[in-house]
Amino acid sequence: MEHIVIIGNGISGVTAARHIRKMSDKRITIVSAETDFFFSRTALMYVYMGHMKFEHTQPYENWFWKKNNIELKSGFVDKVDHQSNELIFSTGETMSYDKLIIAVGSKPNKFGWPGQDLDGVMGMYHKQDLENLDKHAPNNKVCKRAVVVGGGLIGIELVEMLHSRGIPVTFLVREESFWNVVLPAGESGMINRHIKNHHIDLRLGMNLKEIISDEHGKAKAVVVQETGEVIDCDVVGLTPGVSPNIDFLKDSGIELGRGVKVNRFLETNIPNVYAIGDCAEQHEAIGLRRPIEAVWYTGRMMGETVAQTICENRVEYKPGHWFNSAKFMDIEYQTYGWVFGQPKEYEQQFHWIHEDDTKCITVSYHKETQEFLGINTFGIRMRHEVFDQWLTEKRDVDYVMQHLAEANFDPEFYKTHETEILSAYKNSQLQTA
């Protein structure tokens, strides 16, 4: 019986395993060095915040794997020997495979800052990071201040986590406005204000110069590049993005770029070796997507796709219309299609913001053709299915604005804003006309 080995028990690897099991009775083994069972990485923050216990982040009960005949192997893979179809573990143990799926995810970036390996300095990615954080920042007596460096999605989650335990937080963001490489100015500005409303010490346009150690090798302060200011702190969170976790594949013969190079079928240069999820790098970007997409949803989609290929139905990875979501403290964010922080030359954007400063939308459309290109929505939930359909049908922006209510997904009895949005949109059209 064919043995499928999957390295990594995150969303990509587990989705692949589940779908292979649905379609076949191949032998499946999932290898992980992080945890025994699959958990939702995106939920780690809620464990620290006390919303959930760690076991609540596990989508399947522990009996699930045995019942579905999916073997779990705890161990760290040191090397892949594709000539003999073998994995070599750090313990020296080996495991042979017929087909190998690499789904090892990411690791936090470090940019060579002085002091980046001190005690009390950490990223927020693995379960071990969570344990480390809990050790160094159990409460606001042990941790009198924390500094978080890096203005992205993980950064703001870490800020929210620390804030939930009453720990004062300084948030160093390199950009002039939060996450403005992705968010248009109006949205980014609203999030800046929301962060400050939570009494977070937000420092925009500031970089980390170095982390200062105390006599025990533990972080005690950071120095700001621009001002030279020294900020005393007990914990430093480094969250300047992630990159593929592929060091163990060097010299394996598997083609690497920043990630594991794959074609549209998620196949590497070596037959019977596949890569999916955060660690996979497309030879050529698909549409407007990046070659490496470290996103929950794309990881899951690649898992669904590679399972087809492995079960003798070779299909291309064809992600549909781009979508994503996040939450910035109390403000939910969803995006469908493409809205760029720095509008492309063909792109026109309409921005509406609610007077309470916690809700806004940005609609992107083509200057000439008026085709609807995408929407960012903050504080108003919208339907994935509806936008997916409108994007496929290439609706023009007027149609979308007039039918926006159909896409509303807020709970019942919520105040609706479509009328106000539509009249603001009409005004903006009059001005541009």
């Binding site: 919303h51 609540h56 009960e61 109390d330 997916d388 359909q389 709970p411 019942e412």
Partner: protein, 524 residues
């Protein structure tokens, strides 16, 4: 891991003061309980209930109004009260003890027996009871008052906690209204209408059989009939509630119209019990137990009620136009009608559950035949109807719904009764599963499997299991409280009433991955 018990953030000084105020209120109740002979009971009762309410309000104000609007679950699993810690267990033991005394040793609370006047705690409530109904208080009046205060004070707290969520606010105002008006005030005022020649049974109009399993007992039927048109109207309303009103409302809105908008048990669970919702078990084994248990209680309730009605129809054939055998035949006929109808038209939706439905149906029919064959004096299989009724009242009415259902809030979560025991919930759930427009819609492929929805589902539904597959949630047990939708950080869940087509969806591949999407959308 080490996260099990970090120091929970302490409570603020204002919150401590608020707690102290509330405890003074309870202290007055304790003094009354110990028969200290408080003077001016009306004043002390007002002060006591007032302090409890004010304490809760001040606590809630400081806990929620000092923060921005949003989800307020920080530290839930670190606090002793809400994570089965020492305080949680002590609260559970205290509540359980209170229920045991309330149901079985009411004299300890000071209930006057054999015509004596009340003493102790019950006597403290006499002035209020006289004001409302004109009668002295009973232990049930004491309980009803405290119950209502709890729903109103904690309802206020809940409204502040969810002040960004209008669904939660409106729903909570609704349960507060129905508790105060329908469960508490109206029955007391109705008692005022009673005289030597006219008597209505105590009737909380929003209580529907089989939740008020006693509604069709002989003494009540007699009282209804003897009370002329008003009584007859109430009796017809009682029958219509379960056979007409309930199915229509459940079809349109799901069982939530009752369970989380109207019902008193639900009202307490949603307000005072809100801090314990995360304690319900999400294991598959708990779900299996739930399905057997709740339907067994339903069968028990149906057979018990049938036997009781059958018995008194027999005592006096001239008094009631309905005869024993006609009654028994119509019960069997009605059940057969439902069973056959479901098997023919809803077979597909039922799936594997059809077998269990069949087992339940045949069990009831056999028991009905038992009533008929061994029917002398209303026996079924040599058990008297009265024995059935009293054991139902003891085991289900008192132990299950009261002692376990509420006493165990801090251990089993706030909906243990609703989930495992309530026969009304079983009927509404059956309707919701098969004949309703209600569902929780999953928003395409947006779920990140975080588990907040499952964790905070008071009914123990593993909401995430559906959401992460892009499936809508259509479960008989869902009471539609909407908290899964509220706590979802990605805007994935929405409670709604919509078309029956595509209500139960199941997708192999999630939206976002291209597998000819238009096919997917059109086939839905």
């Amino acid at each position: 891991m080490s996260l099990a018990n970090p120091e929970a953030k302490g409570i603020s000084t204002k919150q401590k003061v608020a707690l102290a105020i509330g405890f003074v209120g309870f202290f007055i109740l304790a003094l009354a309980l110990l028969n200290t002979g408080l003077p001016n009971q009306g004043l002390f009762l007002t002060v006591s209930l007032g302090l409890i309410t004010i304490g809760t309000i001040l606590f809630a104000n400081d806990a929620y109004l000092t923060k921005l609007e949003g989800i307020k679950n920080d530290g839930v699993w670190f606090k002793s009260i809400s994570s089965r810690g020492v305080i949680g267990w002590l609260t559970g033991v205290g509540l359980t003890a209170f229920y045991v005394v309330l149901y079985f040793y009411a004299d300890l609370l000071g209930l006057g027996t054999n015509g004596e006047s009340n003493t102790g705690l019950v006597a403290l409530f006499d002035p209020l009871s006289r004001l409302l109904s004109g009668n002295p208080a009973s232990q049930w009046f004491v309980y009803g008052t405290l119950y209502t205060i709890a729903i109103i004070a904690f309802g206020y707290k809940f409204i502040l906690k969810y002040r960004h969520n209008r669904y939660q606010q409106i729903r909570t105002v609704s349960v507060m209204f129905f508790q105060l008006g329908f469960a508490f005030l109206i029955p007391e005022f109705m008692a005022r209408l009673n005289s030597d020649t006219f008597k209505l049974p105590y009737y909380d109009l929003k209580n529907v059989w089989p939740l008020n399993y006693y509604n069709f007992e002989q003494y009540r039927i007699d009282e209804f009939i003897n009370a002329g048109n008003i009584g007859l109207g109430l009796l017809i309303f009682g029958v219509a509630s379960i056979f007409i009103i309930t199915p229509i409302l459940t079809y349109k809105f799901g069982k939530r119209w009752y369970c989380s908008w109207v019902c008193g048990c639900g009202g307490l669970a949603e307000t005072a019990g809100d801090s314990f919702r995360q304690l319900s078990s999400k294991k598959l084994s708990a779900w299996k137990l739930e399905r057997w248990l709740i339907h067994t209680v339903l069968v028990f309730a149906v057979v018990m009620t049938t036997a009781v009605v059958y018995t008194y129809l027999g005592y006096d054939p001239n008094k009631y136009w309905l005869t024993k055998n006609v009654f028994l035949m119509s019960v069997a006929g009605f059940l057969t009608f439902i069973f056959v109808g479901v098997m023919i038209f809803k077979r597909k939706e039922l799936g594997k559950d059809a077998r269990y439905g069949a087992i339940g149906y045949f069990a009831v029919i056999m028991l009905l035949i038992g009533i008929h064959v061994f029917g002398d004096g209303g026996k079924i299989f040599f058990l008297k109807a009265e024995t059935l009724r009293s054991s139902y009242g003891f085991m289900i009415g008192s132990i299950f719904s009261g002692v376990i259902g509420t006493g165990f809030y801090p251990i089993l979560g706030n909906r243990a009764w609703c989930r495992f025991g309530c026969p009304m919930a079983a009927i509404l759930g059956f309707q919701q599963r098969l004949f309703s427009k209600f569902r929780i819609t999953t928003n395409g492929g947006q779920c990140i499997s975080c588990g907040n929805c499952s964790t905070y589902c008071e009914m123990g539904i593993d909401v995430r299991a559906y959401a992460q597959k892009g499936e809508n949630i259509v479960r008989s047990s869902c009471v539609g409280c909407g908290i899964c939708s509220a706590v979802c950080p990605r805007g994935v869940l929405k409670l709604e009433n919509d078309k029956l087509d595509g209500r139960i969806s199941s997708n192999e591949i999630l939206l976002g991955n291209d597998v000819n999407l238009m096919d997917y959308v059109n086939n839905k």
